[in-house]
Amino acid sequence: MKIAVTSTGKAVESAIDPRFGRAPFILIVDDDCNLIEAIDNSTNVNAFRGAGIQAAKTIADRKVDMLLTGRCGPNAFTALGAAGIKVGIEQSGTIREAIERVKKNEVSFADKPNAEAHW
């Protein structure tokens, strides 16, 4: 399984960034937290609108199965849903800690957006 996690840095020991569309990095890891790719999301950080949609496309294009993040707005949630990506929300700590929670079934998955649209 491929998992995308929003991150403040490029390593699996980095802290999770709670924002989805505007996190500086998105890390793609496998079930055992081996780093597959660290995506530089800096062009999206300053996007006027649609940052979440673009981030959703970025990870969908990499055939990711699951996203772990803090908050997810309505447009990003729609886009992730269209791509069949499960959205684990309210994540904090390091990327490695979040992957451990997935293994222990401690992650809650969103059935609706948990943030307002960013205007």
Partner: protein
Amino acid sequence: MIVAVASGKGGTGKTTVATSLALVLETRSQILDCDVEEPNCHILLKPTILATDTVNLPVPSVDLEKCTLCGKCGEVCQFSAIVPIGKTVIAFPELCHGCGACSMLCPEEAIHEVPRSLGVVETGMAGSVEFVQGRIRIGEAMAPPLIRAVKTRIDSDKLAILDAPPGASCPVITTVKGADFVIMVTEPTPFGLNDLVIAVEAIQGLGIPMGVVINRSDIGDSAVKDFCHNKGLPLLMEVPHHRKIAEGYAKGAPLIESMPEYAHKFRKLTDDISMIIGTPSKGSSL
């Protein structure tokens, strides 16, 4: 001639100036309320609305049976309003600016445009003054296309007066773009000055000549005048904080109705503007 009435700060008197300017010019003027989120010229002018036209923005609708997921639509869209993702394409109509590029470039002709309602343009008469206003649909965020629709009603044979929204962002720029002159209305307070500086900075990038009207001119301080002087902005008119004006305003009466002696000042205002931009005045021959 097209004259826009703008201000950084809200509540400075844009509508007061715009409506009285229109009223003194009578049949030779046309007023267009471009503050589509909260149009209010109608309160002072009490027009009879003769026509209401819905304004739509064309947004994409995708026929997924024809779509091959080539991705061209998503590449060309600057606003993430159409996104090929997974095995589908989704459109976000509220992000779409209606440019039409996605439907034009789709090689499979899988995208057609459907109308999304933005609001209405109402036209009518306020006495002898031609009246136009935009009114945005509740919940709609996209004001500029509706403002452009209001501006298609400009009659260039008249003096078209555009009442702009306050501020210095897209709706203001959309309103003043293409105008021959911008009247900046302000008040001589730190608040008036602060927002005037911002608005002047935003509008001067368009290269449109500007002048300043100071409302409630006998309150506050001289900082606005100093700013105008340093910037070379002509001070066009001062309107004092007069009890009769305030009483009239409170009843929804135009300034030149509560203070008829101001009619000649508004006529002179159009003469002065004509002189600044170098076109024959439509106001002086009254």
